[in-house]
Amino acid sequence: MTIGLTHYLVVAAVMFVTGLFTMMTKRNAIGILIGVELVLNAATVNFVAFDRYLGPDRLDGQITAIFVIVLAAAEAALAVGICINVYKNLSTVDVDRANSLRG
C-alpha cells in the first residue's frame, strides 16, 4: 500500500478532532493548551502534505508550516504566562472558575 495524501489527511483530521475534543472537555488550562497544540500541529501536517503532493516544486506549504511552528511556540509561551497569572489570582487553573467575563 502506497502511503498517499489521503493517509496524511486522515492522520491530520484525527489529530484535529482529538485536539478540538480536548479543548471542549478539559477544564484544566494546560489540557486546553495541549488541545490547541494538537489542532495547530494537525494544520501543520496538512500544509506539509499538500505541499508535497500538490505543489512539490514550490515551498509555500513548507514555509507556512515553519511559520505555524514558530507561532505555536510564541502562543504556548503566552498561554502558559496567562495560566500562571490565572493561577496566581485564583489559586487554580480550572477555566470554569475563571468566569468573571461571563455575560
Binding site: G4, M23, M24, V95, A98, N99, L101, R102, G103
Partner: protein, 786 residues
C-alpha cells in the same frame, strides 16, 4: 493792547469761581465758619470782579481808540466738537454787552457775597442736623461760574449749558434749608417750571441747528438774515403752527427759555415762591442776575426773531408787567412785594425788547439789577433785624432803628419809580431806562404806520456807507426830556455800522420791512403800570420805615449791622451814579452789532435827528409819565400816612378785586387744578387701565401659559420626551439581556460555538461550490492518478 488779553481776563474771571467751588467742596469744612465764607468772597467773586474791572477799562480804552470792533471780530473761537456737519465752537463773546453784563454781575455778586458772610452769621447753618456753612458759599461760587459763563458764551449750545447750570444753582440755593418743607417745595416748583421753558429753548436750539447750520450766535444771525433775504433755508419751509411760520416758531421757542428763566407770565409762578430761599440768594439770583439771563438771551438771539415772534415777546412782556404790578399792590410780605415788583420790571424789559427798544431794555436790566439787588439786601437786613418778621403790617417806624437801610431802600424806591426831573438829565436809573422803553413803544404803537418817519434813519443805518461820512455828532434819545441836552459826545463809530452791514443788516432789513404796529392797548398798559410802580414801592417803604411802630416786639428788637449795610451803601451809590453814564453808552455800542436790526436803529438809535416819531413820543411822555412817580408816591403816602386804617377801608371797598389780586388771579390754583389735579386724574385713569386692562391681559396670559406649561410638563414631557428616552434605554437593556446569554464564560461553549459555526460555514461553502469542488476533486484524483 496785546492780543486776546481781554478774553483771557474774562475766562480767568469765569474759571476762578469754579476753582472756588471745587476748593469749598473739598476743603470747606476744614476752613470753618467765617473763613470758608471769606474764601468764597475772595475767590468766588473778588477775582472775577478784578478781572471785570480790568476788562471794563480795557474795553473803554479800546472803544476810544476805535479798536473795539476789531476786538469783537477777532475774539477767540475754537472748535469744541462737531455734530454732524455743524461745528460747535467754544469761545468768548467779546462785545460791549458782554463787558457791561459781566461787570454788572461781578460787581453786584461781589457785594452780595460780602453781605452773605454777615447774613450767615445771624442764621443757622444747620441743615438736617449737619453744619453746611461752607456749602452755601460753594453753591454761590458755582452760581458765579455759571452766570459768568452764560454771559461770555459765544455759542448757543454753551449758552444753553450754562443756562441749565444757573437753573441748577437756583434750585440748590432756594432749597438750601432743604429740611424745611416750604423751601423744598419752592425749589421743586422753580426747577419744574423752568423745565417747561427750557423745553421751548431746546426746540428753538434744534431749529437753529438744523436750519441755520450753525450755533454760533453771530454766524447764526448772518445765516438767518441771508436766508430771509433769499427766501431759502428756514424761510423756505411751509410749515405753520398757530399761524406762525417755522422761523417764528424758532424765535418763540428760544423765547420760551427766557419765559421760564425770567419768570414771564404764565411761567412766572415760581419766582415769588423762590423767595423762600435765603435773602442773599433772592437778591443775587432771583432779582439781579439769573432772572435777567432770560432778557439777556432774548437780546442775544434778537437777530433770530421775526416780527411775529417779537410781537409775541411784546405781548408776554406786556401781560407780565401789568398783572404782576397789580399783585404787588396788595402784598404784605416785604419779600413777596419785591418779588412781584421784579416780575413786573422783567416784564418791562421783555416788552421793551419785543417792541424794539433793545438798548433801553438792556439798560433797564442793568439799572434794575443794581437797585433791586440793593432793595432785596435791604429787606434781608430788615427781616434779620426784626427777628425774621416779614409782614410789613407789623413793621413801621423802623427808620430810627436802621437809618442806613432806610435811606438806601428809599434810593431804590426812587430809582424803580423812575424819579427824575422831566426835561433835564437829572434822575435815577429807572427814570432813563423805563421812559425810553415807553417812548419806543409809543412810537411803535402810534407812529409806526407812517413809515417815512423811520425809513430814512432805518435805511441810513442799514446802508451805513452814505451817511457815515456826513453823520453829525450822534445824539441818543432815551428819556422824557429834550434829547439835545444829553446828546453828549458818544460819537458813533463808523466801523460798527459797517460791521452791522457785514452781519447781514440788508437781510435783516427785509425781515423787518413787515413789522406790524404795536397794538395801542399794550402801550396804555405799560403807561398805566408806570403809575402803579411808584405806588406799591412807596407803599412798601412807608409801611416798613415810616409811621408809628405797629408791633412793639418787632420794633424793640430791630437793629442793623455794618457787615450788611456796607453792601447796601455801595450798591446805592452804584444805583445813583454808575448806571447812566457808564452802561448806557456801552449798550448802545453793542446794539449796532447785537441787534443789527433797522427796527432798533430806527427806534432808539442815533438817528434821532432824522426820526420825528421819537420827538413826538418824547413830547408826549414828558407830559404823560414825567410826573408819574410823584402821583404814585403821593397817593401811597396819602393812604398809608396814618397807618393801615385807610388801607383796610379801601380793601373792603374793593373786596372782590382785592381777593382776586391777593390770590394772584388764582393762577396757582388754576395750575393746581389743570396740571396737578389733571395729572392725578390721568394717573388714576392710567391706574384703572393698568389694573383692569393691562393686568387683566397679563394675568390671562399668565394663566394660559400656566395651563400650557402643565400640559407640556405632564403630557408631552412625561409621555413624549421621557417616553422616548426611557424607551430607548429599556430596549437597549432588553437587547443587552438577550445578547449576554451566549457569553457564558466557559471556554468549551465558545469552542463548541466556534466549531459549530465553522462547520456550518464549511458545509455551506461546500454545498455552494459543489461543482467546482468536483472539478477540484477530479483534478486531485487525476494528479493522484499520476
Amino acid at each position: 493792547m496785546a492780543e486776546h488779553t481781554l478774553e483771557i481776563a474774562l475766562a480767568v474771571g469765569v474759571l476762578t469761581p469754579l476753582f472756588s467751588f471745587w476748593a469749598l467742596v473739598f476743603f470747606g469744612p476744614k476752613l470753618g465758619k467765617p473763613a470758608a465764607g471769606w474764601f468764597g468772597v475772595v475767590f468766588g467773586m473778588g477775582v472775577p470782579l478784578a478781572c471785570a474791572t480790568y476788562v471794563l477799562f480795557g474795553w473803554l480804552g479800546a472803544m476810544e481808540a476805535g479798536e473795539s470792533a476789531a476786538l469783537t471780530a477777532n475774539a477767540w473761537r475754537g472748535t469744541w466738537a462737531v455734530l454732524g456737519d455743524v461745528p460747535i465752537t467754544i469761545g468768548v463773546k467779546l462785545d460791549s454787552l458782554t463787558v457791561a453784563m459781566y461787570f454788572m454781575v461781578t460787581f453786584i455778586a461781589f457785594w452780595i457775597f460780602f453781605f452773605s458772610v454777615g447774613y450767615m452769621q445771624g442764621h443757622s447753618d444747620e441743615v438736617a442736623g449737619q453744619r453746611k456753612y461752607w456749602r452755601f458759599f460753594a453753591y454761590l461760587s458755582l452760581f458765579g461760574f455759571s452766570m459768568l459763563g452764560l454771559v461770555v458764551s459765544s455759542n448757543l449750545v454753551f449758552l444753553f449749558i450754562f443756562w441749565e447750570l444757573v437753573g441748577l444753582c437756583s434750585y440748590l440755593l432756594i432749597g438750601f434749608y432743604f429740611d424745611k418743607p416750604v423751601p423744598q417745595h419752592a425749589q421743586m416748583k422753580a426747577f419744574i417750571t423752568n423745565r417747561v421753558g427750557d423745553f421751548g429753548f431746546l426746540i428753538g436750539l434744534m431749529l437753529v441747528y438744523f436750519h441755520l447750520g450753525t450755533t454760533d450766535l453771530d454766524e447764526a444771525a448772518a445765516v438767518f438774515a441771508q436766508q430771509a433775504a433769499a427766501g431759502t433755508g428756514i424761510f423756505a419751509s411751509h410749515f405753520t403752527m398757530f399761524g406762525w411760520s417755522l422761523a417764528t416758531i424758532m424765535g418763540v421757542g428760544l423765547f420760551c427759555g427766557a419765559m421760564g428763566k425770567s419768570a414771564q407770565f404764565p411761567l412766572h409762578v415760581w419766582l415769588p415762591d423762590a423767595m423762600a430761599g435765603p435773602t442773599p440768594v433772592s437778591a443775587l439770583i432771583h432779582a439781579a442776575t439769573m432772572v435777567a439771563a432770560g432778557v439777556y438771551l432774548v437780546a442775544r438771539v434778537f437777530r433770530l426773531m421775526t416780527p411775529d415772534a417779537l410781537m409775541f415777546v411784546s405781548l408776554i412782556g406786556c401781560l407780565t408787567l401789568t398783572l404782576m404790578a397789580l399783585i404787588a399792590v396788595v402784598q404784605t410780605d416785604i419779600k413777596k412785594c419785591l418779588a412781584y415788583s421784579t416780575l413786573s420790571q422783567l416784564g418791562y424789559m421783555i416788552f421793551g425788547l419785543g417792541s424794539g427798544a433793545w438798548i433801553a431794555a438792556l439798560f433797564h436790566l442793568i439799572t434794575h439789577a443794581f437797585f433791586k439787588a440793593m432793595m432785596f439786601l435791604g429787606s434781608g437786613q430788615v427781616i434779620e433785624g426784626c427777628h425774621h418778621e416779614q409782614d410789613m403790617r407789623k413793621m413801621g417806624g423802623l427808620w430810627k432803628k436802621m437809618p442806613v437801610t432806610c435811606i438806601t431802600f428809599l434810593v431804590g424806591v426812587l430809582a424803580i419809580a423812575g424819579t427824575g426831573i422831566p426835561g433835564t438829565q437829572i434822575g435815577l436809573g429807572g427814570f432813563f431806562s423805563k421812559d425810553e422803553i415807553l417812548a419806543v413803544s409809543y412810537a411803535r404803537a402810534f407812529e409806526w404806520d407812517d413809515a417815512s418817519k423811520f425809513e430814512e434813519s432805518g435805511h441810513g443805518e442799514g446802508h451805513g456807507g452814505e451817511h457815515a461820512d456826513v453823520s453829525p455828532p450822534t445824539k441818543r434819545v432815551m428819556l422824557a426830556s429834550d434829547p439835545v441836552q444829553h446828546g453828549d459826545d458818544h460819537a458813533q463809530p463808523t466801523h460798527a455800522v459797517l460791521e452791522a452791514e457785514s452781519h447781514g443788516a440788508v437781510g435783516a432789513a427785509s425781515i423787518f420791512a413787515y413789522t406790524p404796529k404795536l397794538p395801542k392797548w399794550m402801550f396804555y398798559l405799560a403807561l398805566f403800570t408806570a403809575y402803579i410802580t411808584p405806588f406799591y414801592m412807596m407803599r412798601a417803604w412807608w409801611l416798613t420805615f415810616m409811621g408809628k411802630p405797629r408791633d412793639d416786639h418787632v420794633y424793640e428788637h430791630a437793629h442793623e449791622s455794618p457787615m450788611m449795610y456796607i453792601p447796601l451803601a455801595v450798591l446805592a451809590v452804584g444805583t445813583v451814579f454808575a448806571s447812566y453814564s457808564l452802561f448806557r453808552p456801552l449798550i448802545a455800542d453793542a446794539s449796532i452789532v447785537g441787534s443789527a436790526a433797522p427796527l432798533v436803529m430806527a427806534m432808539a438809535g442815533d438817528s434821532h435827528s432824522h426820526a420825528p416819531a421819537i420827538h413826538v413820543a418824547h413830547d408826549f411822555l414828558k407830559v404823560g409819565v414825567g410826573g408819574a412817580f410823584l402821583v404814585g408816591f403821593l397817593l401811597a403816602i396819602a393812604i398809608y400816612r396814618n397807618g393801615l386804617g385807610l388801607g383796610e377801608k379801601l380793601k373792603r371797598a374793593f373786596g372782590p378785586i382785592h381777593t382776586l389780586l391777593d390770590n394772584k388771579y388764582y393762577i396757582d390754583e388754576l395750575y393746581d387744578l389743570v396740571f396737578v389735579k389733571g395729572f392725578v386724574l390721568i394717573a388714576n385713569i392710567a391706574r384703572f387701565v393698568d389694573t383692569w386692562i393691562v393686568d387683566l391681559l397679563v394675568n390671562l396670559f399668565a394663566a394660559a401659559a400656566e395651563r400650557f406649561a402643565a400640559f407640556c410638563g405632564l403630557i408631552l414631557d412625561t409621555h413624549g420626551v421621557d417616553g422616548i428616552v426611557n424607551g430607548v434605554a429599556k430596549s437597549s437593556r432588553d437587547f443587552g439581556h438577550v445578547v449576554r446569554l451566549p457569553q457564558t464564560g466557559r471556554v468549551r461553549h465558545y469552542v463548541l460555538a466556534a466549531t459549530g459555526v465553522a462547520t456550518i460555514v464549511f458545509l455551506c461553502v461546500l454545498w455552494a461550490s459543489r461543482e467546482a469542488s468536483d472539478v477540484a476533486l477530479a483534478a486531485v484524483s487525476a494528479s493522484l492518478g499520476n
